[in-house]
């Protein structure tokens, strides 16, 4: 019995270096993370330990040296993080888009909006119940950008019609569905979300909803103990063979992410 306990606690693979990778909830919740990691581990010998965290927390973990690399989708946060010296560089590698999710009957009438900015303006005017990630994630950053196009981020309405959950994408979707509210989500997470009930995509397609994902290895200068070699191997694969894995990932016949690494 003691031997079993020890085994379960250690679970160390023989040999190969392990990569600690923080990746955003949208990549995990869609199911892409599992596929990517399985393909990578099969192709190389490395082990990837994925810690699921919103972009904000993921970048913070990288800055502290608690992970070796980060996959996130918050371009402004990422640029700042690289500029601060915590990460050696930023490598864009895939994109998809955000979509606005709302109740079946779309009470705020945003499906007819001409642009994403106008959709958010209509939400504001109608004081429609809106669920925000509120967690400095990539999705949260995108949401804030869209509010700013028609005024300030409605923090003053926080707790009334603007509800900040501070949780991951899936948890926020659960809350939106349960409360009959609107929210913004990446397309992939929504596609794989199993608790949609009566909610649907009520607005999509505006280029402003473009969602870029990037890979950021933690700086080996700032944190000498990070697995820089393993991170470099993963990056090489992600920008190489990994691109076709991303391209092939579908749910119900729909491709959810588009590879766009620049060599």
């Amino acid at each position: 019995m003691k031997a079993v306990l020890v085994w379960w606690l250690l679970a160390m693979p023989a040999g190969a270096e392990t990569l600690r990778l923080a990746l955003s909830t949208s990549v995990e919740n869609s199911g892409l993370a599992g596929v990517l990691i399985a393909s990578y581990e099969a192709a190389t010998g490395d082990e990837v330990r994925a810690i699921i965290a919103g972009s904000g927390r993921g970048l913070a973990l990288g800055a502290a040296g608690d992970v070796d690399a980060v996959i996130s989708h918050a371009p402004e946060l990422e640029s700042a993080a690289v500029a601060s010296g915590s990460f050696s560089h930023r490598a864009a590698f895939m994109f998809n888009d955000f979509v606005l999710i709302g109740p079946e009957d779309d009470p705020a009438g945003i499906s007819g909006a001409a642009s994403a900015a106008e959709a958010f303006a209509r939400l504001r005017a109608a004081q429609a119940r809106f669920l925000s990630r509120g967690d400095e994630s990539g999705t949260h950053e995108a949401e804030k950008r869209l509010w700013l196009a028609s005024g300030a981020v409605p923090r003053s309405a926080s707790g009334r019609w603007y509800l900040e959950t501070g949780t991951g994408m899936g948890a926020t979707l659960n809350t939106a569905v349960a409360l009959g509210g609107y929210t913004i989500s990446d397309r992939a997470t929504w596609a794989s979300f199993a608790n949609k009930r009566g909610h649907r995509i009520v607005f999509e397609g505006d280029p402003a909803l473009f969602n870029q994902y990037a890979f950021l290895p933690v700086s080996g200068e700032k944190h000498p103990f990070v697995a820089s070699a393993a991170a470099a191997r993963f990056e090489a694969w992600l920008l190489g063979d990994g691109q076709s894995v991303i391209e092939a990932f579908e749910i119900a016949g729909v491709r959810l992410f588009t590879p766009n690494a620049r060599d």
Partner: protein, 222 residues
């Protein structure tokens, strides 16, 4: 997208839950019970305040323990070199910290009551301090087992601290409570319920064991 976890993963998660919590509780009990015995039979200045603090630590919020431990174990923190973050050892440590005051406090209450009865006898027959401790521990064993089971119940149902220091990494640090959180966040409510049923079964087993033990304690005072 996975609609359900294969049986192997389910077993993996359940066994890890048990392994982490059993380890944490075993470690905590091994230290807390002798400590509680020492405290019960000792008299020193400030003992009352010491006991009050110990009892207060029972109410330490688990998630605060997780946060504190994260700051200590982070690579940017004082114990970063140990490389314990995002391992099951960090989870065992977190649960140990949460459960130690609980077991120590409950054990102390029982051992202290027994010491009240035994004190004059054991001093009179010349028992040394170590002998006194062993005698009260042995005679209070039912109550001590109850304390241990209570600690296990608290540990196996904990989620906040181990999520922060463990990271809920698949096949490495994922346990029942953190897996439930993840499945709920994916909207896989049916599966989350299945995991919850397993956790509930474990908790019920512990509760029933506690109940049976306290019954035998009543009818057979020794």
């Amino acid at each position: 997208m996975e609609m359900s976890l294969p049986l192997a993963d389910l077993l993996d998660i359940t066994l890890r839950s048990l392994a982490v919590s059993v380890s944490a509780v075993a470690l905590a009990a091994a230290l807390a019970i002798p400590f509680a015995a020492w405290l019960a039979i000792s008299r020193f200045r400030g003992r009352g305040a010491f006991i009050a603090v110990l009892n207060a630590l029972m109410g330490l919020p688990p998630v605060v323990v997780g946060l504190g431990l994260y700051l200590l174990l982070s690579r940017s923190g004082p114990f970063g070199v140990l490389d314990l973050l995002f391992t099951t050892w960090a989870m065992v440590l977190a649960q140990f910290i949460i459960v130690f005051p609980l077991i120590a406090s409950l054990a102390h209450q029982s051992l202290s009551d027994l010491w009240q009865s035994y004190r004059d006898l054991l001093v009179s027959v010349g028992a040394r301090k170590g002998q006194r401790a062993l005698i009260v521990i042995r005679d209070a064993r039912h109550a001590l087992l109850t304390a241990i089971l209570a600690g296990f119940g608290r540990a196996v149902g904990e989620v906040g601290a181990i999520l922060i220091v463990g990271g809920n990494i698949d096949h490495l640090t994922r346990v029942l409570t953190t897996a439930i959180t993840l499945e709920v966040s994916k909207g896989n409510l049916a599966f989350a319920v299945a995991l919850g049923a397993i956790l509930l079964a474990i908790s019920l087993f512990v509760s029933v064991a506690l109940h049976v033990l306290s019954k035998t304690e009543e009818t057979r005072p020794w």
